[in-house]
Symmetry: C2
Subunit: 249 residues, 2 copies
């Protein structure tokens, strides 16, 4: 499994992904699920992937080959005029790769399926964030739904639902995502450290801060240990349950 | 879907279950998933159910019919000498019901499968808690694993993992379960209000406090609203993320 999140904020975008891949619990390894492409001053793109690793790696390789040789007729990531066209290209590439391995064509429940989160900004446009399905179609984050999760998303969702605020700073968003990832990692073996972080500040058109957090990272340790204590305190401050009693207000 | 939790505590047992049943999002209704049997001074039993409603209701009806007519040769819930034998009886009944509807025999991934949590105490024994599988076998809560969840368990698990403590009071446990249920209900349509609560205090051999919480329940509202604020405060007290900075300690 996998856990990846992309957040759309007033200040920009924050991406986080775990690195565990597994073919059964007795066969796990560490692979990044985050890919960044940037041409400073022109565009910044970040792609997070979940699903069959052979599929997502093949799709990324195809996108890169085309990007490296913009002279050839194949469409290049760096030539797309908008984030929408970029999402379309990524979706088409994903669908193409899945169709190689799934005789009956691409479908979400295929063993070879994959899902992408794509976020970024291209000169002349606003920062945008998309979730791209195995069928090649996609949805965009907007005013009502400003973040996307892919993979093992349930454990880490309640804290995002309650705490996410589009006006939070990129640094607050990093803290929030670390709490969400730590909650997931503590509950499910299929999501594991280290965690990759990428930030993007609106309008800069270049990659923001990148970091990999492992179990020795002091900030990660502070969040992981501190959150348990903070939760316990928050819990203790809620009013006690009194059988048969009325709570006023 | 469904969400049910049983907690084994030093002071006793606490059970909570939602009441949403659905056959698609356009066909939902409210059905309790909690069944209590008690003969004060002799035994207290509480059964929570998840899975196919026809299956779990049939199993409970069979158990009840046999309980109502202890004179007949069928085994009765009220005649079992121990919680272990009670769990065995419940498991066998569940397996029997599933085998009616699943030609190939009982199996966990059957459309007709169900899962039970059974907790209680019988005179002469300690309070015990079991999770009973569609195959009729079961596992027991012990020192390493003192609570069980069935159904849509992922959203509400992180708060249980971090906050559960076997020495907490029954009232604190009710508060904890309401937070866990509220986190689940806020994230997933397939779990819904009202919520049924049952407590049992060790050694009393009779049902403890029972309550149904709906959206107008003032304590439920206090927890639901208060937890968002409490989480936000807890989150704000965690140290901020500083790119490139070292956190000492």
């Amino acid at each position: 499994m996998t856990y990846c999140v992309g957040l759309l904020l007033d200040q920009g975008l924050v991406f986080m992904s775990d690195t565990r891949t597994n073919a059964g619990v007795d066969n796990i390894s560490t692979v990044t699920k985050m890919k960044v492409w940037s041409r400073p001053g022109d565009r910044f793109l970040c792609l997070l992937s979940a699903g069959n690793l052979a599929t997502t790696q093949a799709a990324i390789s195809l996108l890169e080959e085309r990007g490296l040789h913009p002279s050839q007729r194949n469409p290049s990531l760096f030539e797309q005029p908008s984030m929408f066209q970029t999402a379309k290209l990524v979706g088409e590439t994903l669908k193409e790769v899945i169709s190689y391995t799934t005789p009956s064509g691409q479908q979400a429940d295929s063993r070879f399926a994959g899902t992408f989160l794509l976020g970024g900004q291209i000169k002349g446009g606003a920062p945008r964030l998309f979730m791209i399905y195995p069928e090649g179609n996609f949805i965009e984050a907007g005013a009502d739904n400003r973040f996307f999760q892919i993979g093992e998303h349930k454990y880490g969702r309640p804290i995002l639902v309650r705490t996410y605020d589009h006006s939070m700073s990129l640094e607050e968003a990093v803290k929030l995502l670390l709490v969400s990832f730590d909650s997931t990692i503590k509950s499910n073996l299929s999501v594991g450290l280290p965690i990759d972080l990428q930030t993007y500040r609106s309008g800069t058109l270049e990659a923001g801060y990148h970091q990999r957090f492992d179990e020795r990272d002091p900030y990660y340790q502070t969040i992981s240990d501190g959150w348990s204590g903070a939760l316990k305190e928050a819990f203790d401050r809620l009013p006690p349950f009194l059988p048969n009693a009325q709570v006023n207000g």
